[in-house]
Subunit: 341 residues, 4 copies
């Protein structure tokens, strides 16, 4: 951590600062310039409150050199994390495709879709039971009953299931769910993250619409700090000024995150774009850029889907995407061993 | 609601669409052009899922004419909402100033700050007990004990208190709190909003960092749909590309929201800018633009504050802001009666 | 175009509006609702000023159904545009790779790089002579002399050359340049665009950092309205809140633009990310998503490049990117015939 | 400037870096940590290319401590700059109000508006002759003839005039114009800025829609580096995800810029919001926040304005804004002497 001080800082305040830093077991290298004096802080600065430092009268600016996340940091954990899920895994060379409807609507629907996506090559089944909807008047999901239907489809197909939790109070219903999804709007629901850190379930953590990659990793760190290292990151588009698609899918996040962290990264082109015709090209692009998997909405009848129908694929269209992904996969980007170090 | 259809839409699909809309008690006006046919939907379209319409093969585009919020809508509720809080109120011509420390740290601290902000003219006391922090390693607030200390300061000064809830499970601790704050990161925590709609407490709802004004009103609608109309909106900056301040304070939100809704609107210049030197100019600007109040961080010793110290004012600086605000208040913008209709 | 009117609009103003629209040869379909009356305007609405309509007292909202661009519009020009350049072309099934240094520095440098990128498979040579730099104290390019050196490298290798114009007054120097580049900061330099519309040179038009796809097409329309249809669009990242890379590369722009327009689309991963390690994964992703080509910075010694060195590849690294691109190309996304109609 | 080096940097590369920096008369303070070594560069680092440094293999990160602008920097020029314009001035305690129509349409129109805004208290007249329009099919301004009409209105009222230049080639027509405006889209038209640096005219420089405050000052630096210090900055809204108003007016830019620079700052609420009803509240807010002036669109008949009518005020509404501004002005924010140092 680097602290830039004002010209001629008040002696007493400077001594206070030095004493406080030393009490945190941080050693200090000072270099005085004509205009500013620069302090280089060496040691474990994870616990230093950067806002507090900035608040000091004698401080002009503070800059972290070391990242504020540890457990999620590639620097301290060179090997890629692999998350085992049922009879499959996420990361470690297995390309995961999580497919299914936005909302679970009926036993027939989820069973039909589950069977279709399995046939097309999906490795996991997704389906929403608790649905975060912008409007209180929109369909909010089948909730507990939806989870039951999802588990029927799991039994039917053998596919592990992924579904979203919206509140801590729902956690007891997720015992037989394979992967718990934290949605973009809950990425910084810190009470939820802390509690999920005490479970032994894989957590699929979606990037918030206005969150940086560093913030995404800080949220992963919340889960990991509780002892649960099975975190899967998911890029699903960020909010920008462009309105031609629902959000702006940030595919550079894949190689950037691969450098920052050892956690697996998947991409959700359905929610990112909100347009079914964009799911295929963006799936191919995400695959080529080195993603560990995809999350794709598939519906037996997109025109009747109770939510997000505009972005769902038919099973036939999904099969076509899978064919494309499989063709590209052998030539996809892979970070070299040297870059991981 | 307006639906733009493709050229020569499939007859059967069009009939299906028409039948479905009629089943929702919506009447349809059709106008056929050379390239597109346009349907004008008339009736209560709040329940129509716009994404579902967009998903239809024969539909090119859909546009809402009527807003998707009702209870919060100025059109259906011309008079400004006034929220009574203890011995004071928010809205209705009373300018509210909610001041206090970011985090409650000790009985001495909160008592000192409470006394100081009361003396300077604050109408309510704020103080954080449950703190949403980006890092799991940062101070997370005194939690339940913090609430107890806040209530001691309430008793001492008579000021009503405002404090943030982070999770549903904390709600039972808020019985003696006057206003429950929903933070920016929880603006779309819909399970929390629904539950708060069943309380009879005033709710201070902060705008999310990446949320539009319409989304803010949809979140207010969640609370109001449950029966609780005591919602206070709070503009606290949005996330943009500019990094000179922490966020970009969107003051045009004040007159825009005044047109869209009857709910009171306050502004938090402390969190919006993250820089104590900007609190005064932005407080004056928010007052001039017609805000119903301000929320300002004040600390007895900003250099020692456990969080967000960079944006806190000393009691003396807060007194100076209050003097400025009082001078400007008589000349502040007020929407005319005609504009409210 | 759809015009939403206020409830009970003033009769006289409505008649004025109707008369004005009819004078523009636009026919009007009216549908009256309980709250709003909706006008559907049919005919050539390209010339209707949407801001002017919105300004009218009786108008609540206006929405374009038809795009405001014509020449660039896929709807009126189904076939993909192919731009011939020297012995090659852009679009029409040829994958173009435009490579070279950010700045031309010396005859030796540009000749070395040109030879290297040709050997690796580049189809065109790029090199900056006029350099838009944020700081007046930074290197501004070799200007006229740089163009001379670029033409020497063109003669040496036979590669067509692409280079940026910064001002109309430089146009006479571009006679032997094959493709004139308009940089992101000049995307809405309308005087420059108009003049380029009167040349017979292919124009490589880069998307501005804060410009929508529709605005990009409107700028293409400026060039095409002057009679020059040889426009190549270039996605090069937009400015968002994320700072992990220089800009956010918007790859969904490729399939979106393919739907909106018949013009070829290339991608510049070097400027978009500003990080050399991201050039390969983003090149593969852009290829997979269906781009017509790439624009890549290559330098013989990136560590000594006078500008933008951080994003330049060595010839060896560029060769590696080319190998990856060639492997993916056969499996890249292609829009179907039906989607083009 | 601070340079963070990799652990165990290559000795030879480090020596090269050191030698290069010393050749630029920069002295270096080194502090070695467990993970990183930090170099503090002291001296005039304005000329150091930060991108070049970042490109070096041994460099992890670089951070400027000193701003990259000098002439515009408050640190090197404590006193506020005052720009004399005809019989008035901008900055130095005079509150400037620049009012007039978006486009000059006829002698009668510009004369009527000029007389009206003068009567209401405007200190300068604005009017567009060269109009940057997104569509090539929209009205492009009366151009040279428009300038003639503007000068007639100047003679009639005695008001100094402000009008926009779009291209270098138009400069010879601006001899009798008092202030030359550089529009938001040309903020980084560096060739134009350089040339304006060689004139002796005051330049009104508008912030680009996606430009940071530092970039705005770098563009001012381009003009000042040429010898022309008469630069007036103008905040006019930035592009964000919010679409309720045309752009997001960033009023914190006023006190932030006051700290960064000595140049005067005015605000354009008309273009920033694009909505006439927001001009008054945002004018009051900008005044309260400490702006040196306002730029407001006024039209004799907004409903017939050829462009931007939606944001224009009638002379009566403008008079009302002026009354409000005058009432607030005595209580507006002023930066203290100490803060300027």
């Amino acid at each position: 951590m680097i602290v830039v001080l004002k010209k001629n800082p008040d002696e007493k305040q400077l001594n206070n600062l030095m004493a406080w830093l030393k009490s945190l077991n941080i050693s200090i290298h000072e270099s005085a310039g004509d205009i500013h004096t620069i302090l280089g802080l060496v040691g474990d600065t994870t616990m230093v409150d950067i806002d507090l430092l900035r608040a000091l009268d004698i401080v002009v600016d503070v800059k972290r050199v070391q990242e504020p996340y540890k457990n999620a940091n590639r620097k301290f954990h060179e090997e890629d994390t692999v998350v085992p899920v049922g009879n499959t895994q996420i990361g470690g060379g297995v390309f995961s495709v999580i497919a299914g409807p936005c909302s679970i609507e009926s036993e027939e629907q989820i069973s039909l879709v589950a069977t279709a996506v399995k046939a097309a090559g999906a490795t996991m089944l997704r389906g929403g039971a608790f649905k975060p909807r912008t409007s209180p008047y929109a369909f909010q999901g089948l909730r507990g009953h939806g989870l039951e239907l999802l588990l029927i489809a799991k039994k039917l197909t053998g596919l592990p299931v992924v579904t979203e939790i919206m509140d801590l109070s729902q956690l007891h219903l997720f015992d037989d769910v394979d992967v718990i999804q934290v949605g973009a709007r809950n990425m910084q629901n810190f009470e939820l993250l802390k509690e999920l850190g005490h479970t032994n379930k894989p957590i699929l953590l979606k990037r918030g619409l206005a969150n940086t990659l560093q913030e995404l990793l800080m949220s992963a760190e919340y889960i990991m700090a509780g002892g649960n290292n099975q975190v899967i990151l998911c890029e699903r588009g960020i909010r920008t000024f462009e309105t031609a698609a629902r959000n702006t899918l940030d595919l550079a996040a894949i190689p950037l995150l691969k450098r920052m962290t050892h956690l697996p990264i998947i991409v959700d082109p359905s929610h990112a774009t909100g347009i079914s015709a964009l799911v295929k090209p963006m799936s191919l692009a995400a695959t080529a850029a080195g993603a560990d998997g995809l999350m794709i909405e598939v519906h037996n009848d997109p025109k009747r889907a109770l939510c997000d129908g505009a972005q769902s694929l038919t099973p036939t269209a999904f099969q076509d995407v899978m064919n494309g992904v499989r063709a590209i996969l052998p030539y996809a980007y892979q970070m070299s061993k040297e870059e991981k170090q």
